[in-house]
């Protein structure tokens, strides 16, 4: 398969080469020179620090010994800045030699923090903002930056719900939820709200990641801000910098044995099937008897002494697999022109056979300073990824499922014949039709090719002192090409195999999004009064064109292209939206002590109903730095004490692009409206959705109160936030009675309330030769459903596994309360019964106390919302060694293992967990009370969601342990630094949950279907060895 990189990629390389060439020729020589060294608090030289003459563009960088040399006017000042340290400025005052001692800035409150449409300082920010420097995440050997953030951010729940390559990360900020408009935060990369998430971004391109949590910090993103905002800033070269860095790691991934479903082996399975035949009555009908006889013959012919373990389907389809990553970063900056380039290649083989993820990425960020007043920047970031691998997650009856389906297949069926050929089926007499899952995995032919080009260009001009005008054009072009050939030998459980023909799905999704932003910012200081005003307008438009062709009736599985098929079902979809916005922000502070900010965004969206096109999203916030007051001056231990509070309104506009229209269609909820007259197709068209001209965004009103404390010269810092927010006007597919002609109606109705507490503690426990830092965060996020659709009707319930009802948290687990089995006739006689109950069958609790068990006896049997989530990172440094341990966890949430519907199925159609052997077999042999009898006709009730499926899902995962060693380099001419490290990702999982991944969530982003585990691609443990080299 050939692919083309975007043309700009080659241009970028060329430009970079050219630039480096010119740069190397340049020699600094000035008449009046200041020299000096830059060192850190431990006296170690700081390499690559930017040294700039204040007020000019002139600058240089420190060398490997931390030395610099620069020409400065005698009355000038030098500014020193470098990542990870606080910036410093010193007047030259005629000196020719100046030494700087930089303070490390990891704990510092004064450093720059990225906010919406600009930057601010930690100290004067009045919103709830948390940022992470990408450097801290460098060693974590994973594909996606979101994985690296696990455990780092307070109030942000990041879960890896599946091990599927390049996928599966779910991010929820402050527990935000929506019934149907998604929970995913808005991702803004270099000022550009992108389509989708960060999964395709090479983490090595990132400089910082900032999470905006409260309304004051997010409201400038208006109708897209309710789920919080994640701002990513990519690496730019600083003036005077010239570095080349290489990061590389190689590792091995394996599936931990814990949590692999413990199903019966061949011997146990045979025994179980034989017993099952005895426990059931011999069928009376001729057809029934024939099937029964076939089963008896099959299982009685198996020799228990020689059959052994049989096929372990899970082992057959999994493997130990390598993972590798290489990235090269080049940064070069002169006074007028600076550029940074990052090239990356990531390759992960899946622990599922025949699955792979590869990513090629590049980024070129360049700045050109025409003068002190005018700056132009261009960023280009192409990325291309290929994912190989068929769908794997979910339950057996869906065609996507692989893991759960394979696990419940008969261990008696061989995966590979003695002659090396592959059987087509793994069925046994009495089972459902079933393909050979090993063959399905081996012959799977599914690839997804993603290409994306993110680009920004901006022009910044300081018209008069303090007034900066900025205009930018941003564009994102992407394509996702999904090609999935499912051979005739592949099928879902309960589908006859081989199928008459294979089938192919080709899905091509191309999208284009552009954004034009124009802002004016004005800063003014009058005495102690600091004013900072921002105004602007932005225009964004998105369009995607999707075509999908499903092709079938292939003569064979050899030629798999579209042209070989004879039946085609084409479909296409076009989605567009536009957004027109005005933004404004005014900040005022008095002596940096009393802080006030107000901001507003006005959004007009094509998505909003014709009578409701515009929305306003205001916020206000205030802060007071008490520690700067005179009366605090004598409290030396307290370096910072700050109170802040904010209130504002934000929206969620993920309501679909054409939702407010009444759709006239030839299809209504999957049923064609066409009919037949006189043996000829007669086209039918009809209104299939209800119009809503007042349809709008979901509104979230949020209040936040926070305290920031720095103690002992900021060795210990502490932040606390309390928030409460209400999301109103939820986009709701309001279920309406079907006598209206519709089953639902898209409307803004329903209200959710969220509140919580977040604590962040950073401590430099030891600061001498042996350094030890601890970062700890914990968040208590709570929610309550205040109002739902028509008559507050609950969502889910009935035969669903979750229920969302007023007065309860969202998405509670729903089912029967299992009370054991009717152990004997006496027990049966005195207990309430289900229609199909018999002695030995499952005994559920009569919740409504009416003496019989019915569907109405289902109740809430678990809460998937955690009491709290937490993360803790410990870093240790001694001489040239460094060690970090990252852990994250969740406490108090329940998980419903819905895969038990299959692995605890008592009909004999599936393989089951080993402990099913302890089921009720007779009154004399009633088993352990956990498993009912296999008597046909009585087993259905036990296949319904019940308390045996629910367990505490609390977990503590040691996400990453990394040990690094900096090679002591005598001569730093060639190499500035070489660091070797080794790490274990997903090192240990402590949980009571029996399934493999306590972060699992089959329902994905849907908060109404949380906490379910239908089986998913396992998350492997990864051992890696890596190296960082700086030239």
């Amino acid at each position: 398969m050939k692919f083309r990189l975007p043309a700009s990629f080659n241009r970028a390389k060329l430009l970079l080469t050219l630039f480096l060439f010119i740069f190397s020729l340049t020699v600094f020589s000035q008449s009046r020179t200041v020299t000096g060294t830059v060192k850190d608090e431990q006296g170690q030289p700081v390499t690559g620090a930017s040294v700039v003459v204040k007020g000019t563009g002139t600058g240089t960088a420190t060398n490997a010994e931390g030395r610099f040399s620069i020409s400065v006017p005698a009355n000038g000042s030098l500014q020193i800045s470098v990542v990870g340290y606080e910036a410093q400025e010193l007047a030259v005052n005629g000196r020719t030699s100046i030494d700087f001692a930089l303070k490390q800035s990891t704990q510092a409150m004064a450093n720059v923090v990225v906010v919406a449409y600009g930057t601010s300082t930690r100290r004067t920010t009045t919103g709830a903002v948390q940022s992470v420097n990408a450097k801290e995440l460098q060693d974590i050997p994973v594909a996606q930056v979101t994985q690296k953030l696990q455990g780092r951010l307070a109030g942000v729940q990041i879960l890896q719900t599946t091990g599927r390559l390049g996928e599966g990360m779910s991010v929820r900020i402050r527990g935000q939820a929506s019934i149907s408009a998604g929970n995913q935060p808005l991702y803004v990369v270099d000022g550009f709200p992108i389509t989708g998430d960060l999964s395709t971004l090479n983490p090595d391109e990132i400089e910082t990641i900032t999470v905006l949590k409260d309304a004051a910090s997010t409201s400038l993103y208006g109708s897209r801000a309710s789920n919080g905002v994640v701002i990513v800033t990519t690496k730019r070269a600083r003036s005077g910098q010239a570095t080349v860095g290489v990061n590389a790691f190689y590792g091995v991934q394996q599936i931990p044995s814990r949590g692999v479903p413990n199903v019966m082996d061949a011997r146990e399975f045979t025994q179980y099937q034989r017993e099952l035949l005895i426990e059931n009555v011999v069928p009376a009908t001729a057809a029934g008897y024939a099937a029964y006889k076939a089963k008896v013959d099959y299982f009685n012919n198996i020799d228990l002494n020689t059959i052994g373990e049989g096929t372990n389907w899970f082992k057959m389809i999994t493997r130990t697999a390598p993972i590798q990553n290489y990235s090269v970063t080049l940064s070069a900056g002169r006074d007028k022109f600076s550029t940074s380039a990052v090239l990356g290649f990531f390759n992960q083989e899946g622990v599922l056979i025949n699955s792979n993820y590869k990513r090629f990425s590049a980024r070129l960020n360049s700045d050109y300073r025409f003068s002190d007043k005018l700056r132009i920047g261009v960023n280009l970031a192409p990325v291309f990824s290929v994912t190989t691998g068929r769908p794997t997650d979910g339950g057996p009856f869906t065609s996507g499922s692989l893991f759960t389906s394979a696990i419940v297949s008969s261990p008696l069926a061989p995966a590979i014949n003695p002659d090396g050929s592959l059987p087509v089926t793994a069925a046994h007499p009495g089972s459902l039709p079933n393909p050979n899952w090993y063959r399905v995995a081996v012959e799977a032919d599914a690839t997804t090719k993603n290409s994306r080009l993110l680009s920004n260009a901006f022009l910044e001009y300081e018209a008069v002192k303090g007034l900066t005008l900025k205009t930018s054009i941003n564009a994102e072009v992407g394509q996702r090409l999904f090609n999935n050939y499912v051979p005739s030998t592949s099928a879902a459980v309960n589908q006859a195999v081989p199928r008459a023909s294979g089938d192919l799905t080709v899905n091509n999704n191309q999208f284009f999004s552009w954004l034009s932003e124009n802002t004016a910012a004005y800063k003014k200081v009058v005495g102690g009064h600091n004013f900072d005003v921002l105004g602007g307008y932005t225009v964004q438009k998105f369009r995607s064109d999707v075509s999908n062709v499903a092709a079938t009736n292939y003569p064979n599985d050899v030629v798999r292209t579209l042209s070989a098929a004879t039946t085609f079902t084409p479909a296409s979809d076009i989605q567009e939206w536009s957004l027109l916005s005005y933004i404004g922000r005014a900040s005022y502070n008095y002596k940096g002590k009393y802080l006030l900010t107000a901001s507003i965004r006005r959004d007009g969206s094509s998505r909003f109903g014709s009578d409701n096109k515009w929305g306003n999203f205001p916020s206000v916030s205030a802060g007071w730095i008490i520690s700067d007051e005179n009366f605090m001056a004598h409290v030396k231990a307290v370096s910072l004490l700050k109170l802040r509070s904010s209130y504002g309104e934000t929206g969620n506009n993920n309501i679909g692009n054409y939702t407010y229209y009444a759709n006239v269609s030839s299809v209504n909820s999957g049923n064609t409206n066409n009919y037949v007259f006189n043996n000829t197709l007669a086209p039918g068209n009809m209104v299939s959705t209800l119009a809503n001209s007042t349809l709008g965004w979901e509104k979230t009103k949020q209040f936040d109160f926070g305290v920031d404390v720095g103690l002992l010269g900021s060795r210990l810092s502490f932040s606390y936030d309390f928030y409460t927010k209400t999301t109103d006007g939820l986009l709701f597919n309001v279920p309406v009675p079907t006598y209206t002609g519709f089953s639902n109606f898209q409307a803004n109705i329903g209200k959710l309330k969220f509140w919580g507490h977040e604590f962040v503690v950073s401590s430099q426990n030891l600061v001498n030769k042996f350094r030890w830092n601890t970062d700890f965060n914990i968040s208590f996020n709570k929610n309550n459903v205040e109002q739902l659709g028509t008559a507050n009707a609950s969502l889910g319930g009935g035969t669903d596994r979750n229920i969302t009802r007023v007065g309860q948290p969202i998405g509670m687990l729903w089912g029967y309360v299992f009370e054991g089995v009717y152990a004997n006739q006496a027990d049966y006689d005195k207990s309430p019964k289900f229609q199909t109950s018999k002695v030995g069958s499952a005994k559920m609790r009569d919740v409504n106390g009416n003496g019989v068990i019915t569907v109405d006896d289902r109740t809430i049997i678990g809460n998937p919302n955690p009491d709290f989530i937490f993360g803790i990172t410990n870093t240790f440094m001694y001489k040239n060694f460094d060690l970090s341990i990252v852990a994250s966890g969740s406490y108090g949430n329940d998980i419903m293992n819905t895969a038990l519907e299959y692995t605890n199925n008592l009909d004999g159609v599936f393989n089951v967990t080993k402990d099913v052997a302890n089921r009720w077999k007779s009154e004399q042999n009633p088993g352990n009370g956990r498993y009912p009898s296999t008597l046909a006709g009585t087993t259905g009730l036990f296949r319904n969601a019940n308390t045996t499926w629910v367990t505490d899902g609390s977990f503590l995962t040691i996400k990453n342990i990394t040990l690094g060693y900096n090679l002591p380099l005598r001569n730093k001419q060639t190499f500035k630094n070489i660091r070797l490290y080794s790490s274990v990702q997903q090192a240990l999982v402590f949980t009571k949950y029996q399934g493999s991944n306590p972060e699992v969530n089959t329902g994905g982003e849907n908060p109404l279907a949380q906490g379910l585990d239908q089986g998913a691609y396992p998350v492997p443990r990864t051992f890696t060895f890596g190296v960082n080299v700086g030239f």
């Binding site: 057809a287 536009s578 009444a662 269609s665 209504n668 009919y675 197709l681 086209p683 209206t740």
Partner: protein, 504 residues
């Protein structure tokens, strides 16, 4: 200076693109109601669409119409328990979450809503008045038919006659909080609609095949009056059908159901299906065949019917009840099939099975057979019943014997009794065999007051036979409450004003 101009220029360009219509993006892949309902073609397509939900209603109508009765049962499917609710309906242990019950409710109301949409808009449109009358007549017929199905199975149901529209508050607060309308009012509307449809619609000869006709509307009206026991009105409506000379009995009973013979002279109204993969195909043949993992003994090709078939299996009761010489038994029921030259005695309904079958769509069935809603034979039996109930038993006999002559051969089993009570039973019995597996039996038992005794006895017989070990003691506890089906669970959930039928 240049820079300032550049910035101003850039700013202007983006500003220019922000015209007012920048925020109006019309969907490109579907039509919205703003630009539909204008032309004759639009309305014709809308009327066509109103027929479409009939497929959904009739695809599963056998479950509540036949399996609930003494005509059919099911093959206990130990492998796939996914359709348990069908068994529960057959065995009188169903509950409000049963999907076939929701299907009947939802899709009948979809027909009603579609009809309401057209009826509310059609008068304002300008096109050929005759076409308009025809279209309106079809919508009124379909709405009437849908309400009639609902009222017979559920009793009181909300009576909705205008399309749902308005502000969000109105839709959620007003249009979604209706209570059940008393049965009598619903019947009044059914009669009004059917009568109006009869006057607006052309007769069968003048109508496109498959569309509702004046004869179909009159038959529906007759059926309504029969259920309401307004025998004189029934007679008038049914006589209009007979006197229209548009209909006659086919000489061969089985010929009616053959796909090549759709919409024949005996056909009053049938649901139209067409083989293929466009969602227009039927599947009755497969659903009613046994649930074999390989259907080839019957169909001649490999097909796994495990998840599809085994339903609507003729009961031993009906097998035994056919009179000797009744050709309809052989035309309707197959005795079994042969595997490896061994005959397996597993009866199944073959009325809708005509070999060779078209190729299935992968693992999904695909057949061409239509579903009969009203046949002329039923018109004759209705008329006979209406006459007998009015004491005109001697007038009823010719119509009854017309049907029997075809079934047994001319004059072979002529009925001569004019005893009203005897004749009542004979006609009901005749309906059972003539209309077997056409979803008439359960409603016949209910409207004649026989459902409780007949089904209780039937259930007791099944249990004592020992052949149905899955029947637990709670099954076939047939009470008056079970004559109506429950309002679907989800409907009550969203509209608490819908009070559940007693006993559920």
């Amino acid at each position: 200076m240049k820079i300032k101009i550049l910035i101003a220029g850039l700013a202007l360009t983006t500003f220019a693109s922000c015209k007012k219509d920048f925020l109006d993006i019309a969907p490109e892949t579907f039509i919205s109601s703003n630009n539909f309902f204008k032309t004759q073609n639009d309305f014709t397509q809308a009327v066509n669409a109103t027929y479409a939900p009939l497929r959904n209603v009739y695809n599963s109508a056998y479950i509540m119409g036949e399996m609930r009765s003494d005509n059919t049962h099911y093959i206990y499917n130990n492998t796939n328990r996914g359709n348990l609710v069908r068994e529960e309906i057959a065995d009188f242990i169903d509950n409000p979450t049963a999907e076939p019950v929701a299907t009947k409710w939802t899709f009948n109301y979809r027909i009603i809503a579609y009809a309401n949409e057209v009826l509310a808009r059609i008068d304002a449109a300008t096109f050929d008045e005759n076409v308009k009358k025809n279209l309106k007549g079809q919508e009124l017929f379909l709405r009437s038919l849908a309400y009639f199905d609902l009222v017979q199975y559920f009793g009181d149901v909300p009576l909705v006659l205008t399309p749902t529209a308005g502000s969000a508050d109105e839709i959620i607060g007003v249009r979604s909080t209706l209570a059940r309308t008393p049965k009598a009012e619903v019947y009044a509307q059914i009669i009004k609609d059917a009568k109006e449809a009869a006057t607006l619609l052309p007769n069968k000869a003048a109508q496109e095949k498959g569309r509702a006709t004046s004869g179909a509307a009159q038959t529906l009206l007759g059926n309504v009056y029969v259920v309401l026991k307004q025998w004189a009105d029934a007679e008038t409506a049914l006589r209009a059908v007979v006197n229209s000379t548009q209909y006659s009995l086919l000489s061969d009973y089985a010929a009616f159901f053959v796909p090549s013979n759709k919409n024949n002279a005996e056909s009053v109204f049938e649901v139209q299906y067409q083989q293929g993969n466009l969602g227009l195909q039927s599947s009755f043949a497969y659903v009613f065949m046994p649930n074999l993992t390989n259907l080839s003994p019957i169909t001649g090709f490999t097909f796994n019917n495990q998840n599809t078939g085994g339903w609507n299996i003729p009961s031993e009761n009906i097998l035994a009840a056919y009179a000797t010489g009744d050709k309809r038994k052989g035309a309707s029921i197959a005795d079994g099939y042969t595997v490896n030259s061994a005959f397996v005695a597993q009866p199944y309904v073959k009325k809708y099975l005509h070999l060779p079958l078209p190729a299935p769509n992968g693992s999904s069935p695909n057949t061409d057979e239509n579903w009969p809603v009203y046949r002329y034979a039923e018109v004759l039996l209705f008329l006979a019943e209406a006459l007998n109930e009015q004491g005109k038993s001697n007038q009823a006999l010719p119509y009854l014997n017309l049907v029997r002559d075809r079934a047994f051969g001319a004059g072979a089993a002529t009925i001569t009794t004019t005893d009203q009570v005897q004749l009542r039973d004979i006609i009901l019995n005749e309906r059972r065999f003539e209309l077997a597996f056409e979803n008439k039996r359960w409603l016949d038992l209910v409207r004649t007051g026989k459902a409780v005794p007949v089904m209780s006895a039937y259930g007791a017989a099944l249990k004592t036979s020992g052949k149905y070990p899955n029947l637990v003691s709670s099954t076939y506890n047939v009470t008056a409450n079970r004559l109506l089906f429950p309002i679907p669970f989800n409907e009550i959930l969203v509209d608490p004003k819908l009070i559940q039928n007693p006993g559920y």
